[in-house]
Structures are given as C-alpha cells and as structure tokens.
Amino acid sequence: MADAPKKSLFTQIREGQVWNSIFRHGPPDNTRNRSLAVLTNVFLHLHPVKVRKSGLRLKYTWCAGGTTFFLFLVETVTGLLLMFYYRPTSEYAFSDILDLRSQVPLGIMREIHRWGAHAMVIAVWLHMLRVFMTGSYKPPREFNWNIGVLLLVLTLLLSFTGYLLPWDQLAMWAVTVGSNMARATPFLGNEGPGAALLRVGDISLVHAGDDARFALLAGRFVGAGALLRFYVLHCVGIPLVAAVLMAIHFWRVRKDGGISGPL
C-alpha cells in the first residue's frame, strides 16, 4: 500500500469504481469527453452540447426562458414544503394558510411561493415577447413555439388553481367567476353554443348538473369538492404535464439548432 507513489484523494476518487460507474467517460480535458459529459447525462442531454456565443448574450435572450424554468423549480420546492402543512379541506384550508404565516418556522415560505408564481407569469410573457420579437418562432422552430403556447396556458392554469387554495373570499369569488367561463364551452357547457341542441324531447342532456364546469368543480358551485380537485390539479396534475412538455421544449431547442441568435 505504502510502496506505490501516494495518489491524492481526488485522484483516488476519480479513478475509483464508484466514480466511474456514474460517469463513464474520461476527464473532460478534451472536446470528445466534454461532449460525452453532456450526451451521457440524462439531465444535461436536454441541453445543447455546444452553445453559441450569441446564445449567452443577455441583451438578446433576456434569459427569460431560463428564469421561467428557475422559477418553476422554486415553485416546485416551496410548493412541496407547503404541502407538509396545508390540508385541502373546507375545514382547515384557511386556518392552515394563516398558520403557515404565523406559526410555522420560516413564515415567508408561502410568500415566496406566491411571489414566485407572479414572477413566473411575468417571465413567461417576457420569454414569449423575446421569442416573438426576434422571430425565433419561424421554421424550424414552429413546433417548439406551439409547445411554448401550451406551457403558457399551463402556467396560467397553475396560477388559477393555486388561487383557490387559501379558501378566502377572494379565492372563492375569483374561482366562481373564472369557472363560469366553463359554462360557455361549446357543447360541453350548459350555456355554451350547441348545448341547447343536445336534448332528447324535453330533457336537456347538458345541464348545470353534468357539464364541463360540474366536472371541474365536482358540484354546481365552488365547494369542498372544488377545493380538493383544484389542489390535486395544482400539486400533481398540471406540474406533471408541464414537466413533460418542458422536457420536450428544451430538447427541441437543441434539436432545432440551439438558441436562436442574431442573423
């Protein structure tokens, strides 16, 4: 043991089996290994292997997409922490929100989550504006623009579903008003175009007790069922879909030729 020339701890780790079972390429001291470092990593491979210098120019990209993703991570972490205290029932929801501020250590957790949500919506709009103004939606990036539009809608839906969870008067009426839009869904909402046509004799097939709004709220008005549904959609359903679409979005940035740059 002591006969061999002493290797530094760093070298020992780098040459050890544990390290080499995780990173199966050599040290990133040449172009090939640096490429492999990106290509053989499930997280990094969504990102381009090489980034153009213009892609780092803040004046051109505003880093709005990156900011949005960062804020999504902030929301995921703070949201997960809030879930340890918050109970989505009409009995406890409002008092749990108050307790999160006054009784739970680090009482600004909900404020971070809330302000992060506002910032995320702003960042998404800035990202969309930047992409539009630089013409980055043009071929070959049309598909990714559409994925981006879906992500915009999901961001707004995350804000909307999260808005109900404090279970105060603002939340109740905002969601009452917002979900009234679902009444006007064509054919699926009881006040929507075409709904009046869906009837057998005198019996209306689409009414307040079985339309799109009813499925969303689990009832005819915003009640305990709506709170639970919005909670599940807010914490699991929408983030899951958004995560999948974000993976596609980032991967397509790479596949469509990297971050667009000045021509």
């Binding site: 009452t176 009813f214 008005f221 069922g225």
Partner: protein, 183 residues
C-alpha cells in the same frame, strides 16, 4: 417448431409454406390481429369512458335543487325575504300581485348580490351592479336582469321552488305561469 421446418433438407420458400400449412394462414393471422385490435380498442374505449365518468360524482353534498319555502301568507308585499339566501341562493319576493323566486347570482360574473333595504335595490358587492326589486338591472356592468326560478304551489299549500328551471326576462319568460305565483 421452427427447428422442425429447418430440419427439412431443402432450404427454399417451401418451408415457409409448410409452416403456414401447419395451421396459421396469412388470412387467418390478419383476421385474428383484426379481432385482437378491435377487442383492445373496445376495452380501451370502455376504460376511457369509465375514467371520464369518474369525474362526475353520484352523490353531492349540496342543498337539494328543490325546496319548500313556506306558505304564501308568510311573505309580505313589497319586501324581499332573505331567509333562503344563505342555504339555497334564492331571494323570495312578493309584490302586490305575485310571489317570485329570484336566483341570487349576478348576471355579470356570478357573485351573490345583496338586498339593500334602505336603498330598495339589489347590489352586487363585486362590481357594483344594481337591480330593482323586480330583478331588472339598472346600474353597473350587469348586462341583463336577474333570473327567476320555477315556483309552484305544492299539494300541502306550501310554495315549492324548483332550481332546475330558470326564467329570463329578456327572453320574455317572466309571463310563464310557473315563473311566479299569483297572490
């Protein structure tokens, strides 16, 4: 089984034909695949519809859609009765000639208006829409009058309010005999 066909001395298209001859013809295979796909699609369809149905609860913890609202004599002409506002979302109103049930949902964006006795009008707290005692809108953003529910007399002489049917003034439905009780 492929071992057997390979064992034959002539490696030509013939073994394939022989294998087909063992019971699975091209036509039979294709039709079985067809049956399999139809069954699979059917099962997936049923599963999807059932899952969609899962989102529509059978039991609701909501007040019933119809309720008895006491006897006509309990209501005073020219007054709005608030007693069913909290529980059923209904204003009971009696004027000189009739009793009607106003749906307590603002026609602007769906908030619950309040009856202001001093100002003798319905006023929505959200965006300030105002309505006369009849339900006709006269101020604020509400685009049309408050709606009325079906109202009839039950066999025991009590008023029965049925929230599954609404009557709109702008459609000329307030003349319908079940949109009010003559009193």
């Amino acid at each position: 089984m492929p071992e057997d066909s390979k064992a034959s001395p002539a490696p030509s298209p013939a073994p394939a034909a022989a294998a087909a001859g063992e019971g699975v013809t091209r036509r039979g295979f294709v039709s079985w695949i067809g049956v399999a796909w139809i069954s699979f699609s059917g099962a997936m369809g049923v599963a999807s519809v059932s899952t969609l149905r899962f989102f529509f609860p059978n039991v609701l913890f909501e007040p019933p859609q119809t309720f008895k609202a006491g006897f006509p004599e309990e209501y005073i002409a020219g007054q709005v009765d608030n007693r069913f506002k909290e529980s059923f979302g209904v204003f009971m109103v009696r004027n000189e000639s009739s009793i009607y049930a106003i749906k307590a949902v603002c026609t602007h964006l769906g908030c619950t208006p309040n009856w202001l006795e001093a100002e003798y009008k319905f006023k929505c707290p959200c965006h300030g829409s105002g309505f006369y005692i009849s339900g006709i809108n006269f101020e604020g953003p509400a685009p049309r009058p408050l709606e009325r529910y079906r109202i009839v007399l039950a066999d025991d002489g009590q008023i029965l309010v049925d929230k599954t049917k609404i009557y709109r003034q702008e459609k000329g439905e307030w003349v319908d005999p079940e949109s009010f009780i003559a009193a």
